[in-house]
Amino acid sequence: MITPFDILSEAKTLLDLPPETRTEARRRTIIGRCYYAAYKHLHSHDVAKGYRHSPGQNTGSHRSFLNHLKESDQPDVVKAIKVLEFLLSYRVQADYFLDIEIIDSLATDCWKRANFLMTRTLPATSSA
């Protein structure tokens, strides 16, 4: 089984490609990998304990997970939410809004934020 860090590592591999081959399509892929790495990391973290998405819920599972986290007032969780929301916003843009240009520094920024969340803000816990 792969881990969220494997997904983040794939993003880094793409990010480290020579600039001339780091096409906009790849930059969009990088942002998507960063988001899913961060999302799965948080999903398996202790902070997600007690969270369960019901199929009948009136919202998508990603949004309902974020809403669950927002019940917390722990500073590190708040930081994690802000990072995840940033990544989610650009993941949606990267996947759906093809007319809005994704520049190179944005892909780099997304990787740094995902890495920060996973290694510094909320490192993996025993249940991860």
Binding site: K70, D73, E85, S105, T108
Partner: protein, 267 residues
């Protein structure tokens, strides 16, 4: 077509390029040479049309984009004092630049004056911009005034979407203070802002996202996001309101403009 650009036509071209075409992708912010060229052209136009609010606000905007806020403020003050001659686009642009520099009182007043002065607004771009402006300054009465104006022309009713989001969290009595606190916490970093309102393609829910462009490294930008949220959480705790959902009822974020890409050193 004349080989020499007419001042008004050039002003309009620059205004549109600064406030419309580049708004979404924030592309202009990354293009130091083009910003410098716009600044130079606008300085020439200002000599020809010293009382043109469009020129003043455009020049102020490109200076702020380049991190030259001190130079921009007198231009904004001049545009403010000349606003009786401003067009609708000038008004909305001036209000938006005041939001960037954190003067929400002036931005709010401009929005209110715009609604009063141009009683019938039938331009969809102006209506959307105005609705966004009222949301960002937390002006519920103006959103309520705008909503029927928008409904009357059968246009997408952004004012209603903002009002619904605010009401869903019970934040109507707090939204003005909420927005003021964010802007106080992040000043003087922003050099641009953009409000996005869209339906999430995956879950069909409205998403409100306010992006502030800042010229600093990603870690400083993240700290500004955290700082704003912490301030809000403290505020809601003091009000006896569950802090997390209220403080983060919409998404605001800092988009980093790396100094090396703008051709300017980080201040």
């Amino acid at each position: 077509m004349s080989a020499i650009a007419q001042p008004q036509s050039e002003t309009n071209d620059l205004f549109n390029s600064i406030f419309h075409e580049n708004a979404e992708s924030l592309r202009l912010l990354y293009d130091g040479p083009r910003l410098k060229q716009y600044e130079w052209r606008l300085r020439i136009l200002r000599k020809k049309q010293p009382n043109d609010v469009g020129v003043l606000v455009s020049l102020a905007a490109v200076l702020i984009m380049q991190g030259e806020r001190d130079q921009a403020m007198p231009l904004l003050d001049a545009a403010w004092s000349l606003r009786s001659s401003a067009t609708r686009p000038d008004y909305t642009a001036l209000a938006n630049v005041y939001i960037i520099v954190g003067n929400l009182d002036r931005a709010r007043q401009l929005g209110q004056e715009l609604i009063e002065r141009f009683n019938i607004i039938d331009n969809s771009f102006t209506l959307r911009t105005l609705a966004a402006l009222c949301f960002v300054v937390g002006d519920i009465p103006s959103l309520k005034k705008l909503s029927p104006l928008i409904a009357a022309i059968n246009e997408f009713n952004a004012a209603e979407v903002y009002l619904s989001a605010i009401n869903a969290y019970g934040l109507a009595p707090h939204i003005a203070e909420h927005q003021r606190l964010i802007h106080s916490a992040i000043q003087p970093a922003p050099c641009w802002y953009d409000l996005e309102l869209y339906i999430d393609p995956e879950d069909g829910e409205w998403t409100i996202c306010v992006k502030y462009a800042v010229r600093c490294d990603w870690e400083k930008a993240m700290n500004l996001e955290f700082k704003g949220t912490e301030v809000l959480m403290d505020y809601y705790k003091a009000q006896g309101i569950k802090p997390g959902p209220a403080a983060m009822f919409y998404n605001y974020m800092m988009v980093t403009i790396p100094p090396e890409e703008s051709g300017r050193l980080e201040s």
